[in-house]
Symmetry: C2
Subunit: 346 residues, 2 copies
C-alpha cells in the first residue's frame, strides 16, 4: 500500500492582464501518492517542497505569451517556480531519498518532477536552506553573472542599482562594494533605503518615490556620472539613467519590473541617443544561459556568506496559503528583501 | 606681397530647432591670405577645400548642446565638417604643399587648420578623391567598425540595415554580403530600394514608407528573425526590430536620424523588454574612438574597391552655394547615396 498525503496547491485561475491580484491564484487540495508512478521515466523525483521563491519573472508566465524563453503557466494548473525541496522518492541514482535540491518545482506541498536535469543538489546544508531560493540560488547567480560577466566592472567605477533591496539588487550592491566600486541604490521606501545604507553597505541610497525629478536625483548622487547601471526596473528610471551615464558605460538589463504589468506602456524610452553619444554597451541576459558558471559562483559566494562579508535579507511568508499574497506583493514592492514562502520546515 | 583669394563660406545663422532649413545657413564671401599667419603654431596648414561631406551627425552640432562628444557650431561662424583638401601652405614638415588630406575642415573655399592631428594624408590618389568623404573616409570606417567590431558577425547570420542606401548603410550591406550573411535593407523610396537590390547586391530591400506595419514587414523579410541590426534611424523602426530580433542578437547603434530633429519625441521605445528575453547586446559607438584601426580598414577596403567588389554611390552637389541645400536634404532623405559637395576640382 503506497503512502498518501494531502497536497495543497496554488493554481492559476486564468491568464492575467495588468497588475496580478491575489484572487488570480486559487488554493486547492488534492491527494498525492508518495511514490513515483511506474510509468514515469528513470529520471524522476518526488519531492517535498520546503521553500518557494517569489520572483518578478513569474509575472510573464501568468500571461499568455508565445515563443518566450519560458512557457506560460497553464490556467487551471499548479504554477511552478524555483524552490528548495527534499527528495521523498527517486528513480535517478544520483538523487537519493533525503537529499536536498533546488530548482524548478511546483507551488504545492509535494511535486513530481519528471526531468531532474535542471535540479541542483544542495551541498552546503549548513547554511540556511531558504538561501537557495536567493543568495545561493537563481537570484544570487543572476547578480553574479550580471555584475561580473555583463558589466565588466573596474575598480573605482560608479555603480547604480535599481530595486536595490530586492533579491538580486542587494547582492549586486555588495559585490560591487567588495570589488571596490562606489555604489548607490534606489528603492521604494524609507525602510529599504535604510537597509541599503546600514545593512548592505551601499555608499548611498534614495527613495525614488520621493524624487519628482529622477534626472536631478541621479545628478545629485552621481555628480560625475554612472559607469555601470544594473537595470531591474525600466521605465522612467531607465530614461533618467541614460542621461547620466558616462562615456563607455555599461548597462546590464536584468529586469524591468515597472513594465511587467502594463498592457500598453504609457511612455516609452526617449533618451536612447545617449547610447551613441556616450558609447554605451547595454546587454540583456538570462541566468539560465550561464548555469555552467554556477559552481564558480558558489566557490566565491559561500565563503563570503560564512565569513559574514555578505549579508542577505529575506521577507518570509509562512505557509502556501500566504503564497499568492506574497507573490502579488512583489509588483507593488511590498516585500523588503528577498520574498520567500515557507511551505514546510523539513 | 602675400597672395590673396576670395573665400566663399557657409555660416550658421543661429542654433536650429526642429528640422533644419536651407535658410538656417547663409553664404558669405571674405578675403583670405594664402599663407599661414606668423603667429600660428608650427602645426598648422592652409588648405584649399575640394570635397565636403554632408553627414547626419552634423545636425547635433547645429543645436546648442553641452558636454557632447563634439562641440556645437558657433552661430555667425563658418561651419566645419569632414572634407578632402589640398595643402596650400604648411608649417608641419610631414604635410607639404600639394599634399592631399582628409579630415575636419571648414565649409569654405580655403581653411586654416590650426591642429593637424586629426588629418589623414591621402595615399591612394588613384581612386576618386571624393571617396575620402565616404567609402574611404569617416562613413566607410564607421561601417567597418560597426559591422566587424561591434556586431561580431558570423557567417550565415541574418542582417538588417536601416537607411541602407546612405553613406554608411550601403557599405554595411556589402560588407555583410562579402562576409556571407543574408542582408535586407530598408530605405525611403523606390529608387533607393532598386539601388539596394540591383547595385549593392542586398538579398532583399523594402521601402519603409510603404509599410503601414513595420513589425509585419520585418516578419515578412525575416521569417526566422534578425541576428544583427545596424541601426541608423531609431524611432518606430527600432521598436519593430526589437520584436524581430533572434536570441543572442546584436544591435550596433550608429545613428538615429529619425530622432535628430524632434524637440520632444512623440513616442518613445516600448519594446526594450526584448533585450532581456532575447539576450540582446546593443552598443552605441563613435568612429572617432576607433581611428587606430583606420590603416587596417584601408588595407581591406582599397583592394575591394579597385577590384570592383564594392561599389559606392554618391549624390553630388556642385559648388558651395548648393551646400546648405545638400546638407538639409539629408534629413528628409532626399539624397540617393552619399551626399557630397564639390567645392573645387583640384
Amino acid at each position: 500500500m503506497v503512502e498518501e498525503a494531502s497536497n495543497k496547491q496554488v493554481i492559476l485561475k486564468d491568464y492575467v492582464k495588468g497588475f496580478p491580484k491575489e484572487s488570480d491564484l486559487i488554493l486547492k487540495t488534492s491527494i498525492v501518492k508518495l511514490k513515483i508512478p511506474n510509468q514515469c521515466s528513470n529520471d524522476a523525483v518526488l519531492v517535498k517542497n520546503l521553500y518557494l521563491s517569489c520572483d518578478p519573472y513569474m509575472r510573464g508566465r501568468m500571461a499568455k505569451t508565445e515563443g518566450s524563453y519560458i512557457d506560460s503557466f497553464t490556467p487551471g494548473s499548479t504554477i511552478t517556480g524555483y524552490g528548495v525541496a527534499k527528495i521523498v522518492d527517486s528513480s535517478n541514482p544520483d538523487l537519493k531519498k533525503g537529499d536536498l535540491i533546488w530548482g524548478l518545482t511546483g507551488w504545492e506541498e509535494y511535486s513530481l518532477i519528471k526531468l531532474t536535469q535542471g535540479l541542483f543538489k544542495i551541498q552546503n546544508a549548513d547554511l540556511p536552506l531558504s538561501y537557495y531560493t536567493g543568495i545561493l540560488g537563481m537570484p544570487g547567480h543572476t547578480a553574479y553573472i550580471g555584475f561580473y560577466e555583463i558589466c565588466s566592472p573596474k575598480k573605482g567605477e560608479y555603480v547604480f542599482v535599481s530595486a536595490a533591496s530586492g533579491a538580486v539588487g542587494q547582492l549586486v550592491g555588495q559585490f560591487a562594494k567588495l570589488f571596490g566600486c562606489y555604489v548607490v541604490g534606489s528603492a521604494g521606501s524609507k525602510d529599504k533605503v535604510d537597509l541599503l545604507k546600514n545593512k548592505f553597505g551601499f555608499d548611498d541610497a534614495f527613495n525614488y518615490k520621493e524624487e519628482p525629478n529622477l534626472d536631478a536625483a541621479l545628478k545629485r548622487y552621481f555628480p560625475n556620472g554612472i559607469d555601470i547601471y544594473f537595470e531591474n526596473v525600466g521605465g522612467k528610471m531607465f530614461d533618467a539613467v541614460l542621461l547620466n551615464m558616462r562615456v563607455n558605460g555599461r548597462i546590464a538589463v536584468c529586469g524591468m519590473i515597472s513594465q511587467y504589468n502594463l498592457e500598453n506602456p504609457e511612455e516609452g524610452t526617449r533618451n536612447l541617443l545617449c547610447l551613441i553619444t556616450k558609447r554605451i554597451r547595454m546587454e540583456g541576459f538570462l541566468v539560465f544561459d550561464h548555469y555552467g558558471l554556477y559552481p564558480k559562483f558558489l566557490e566565491m559566494v559561500v565563503p563570503l556568506v560564512k565569513q559574514g562579508k555578505i549579508t542577505y535579507v529575506e521577507d518570509v511568508a509562512q505557509g502556501l496559503e500566504n503564497a499568492p499574497n506574497a507573490l502579488v506583493g512583489l509588483f507593488s514592492g511590498r516585500n523588503v528583501g528577498k520574498q520567500v514562502v515557507v511551505v514546510a520546515s523539513e
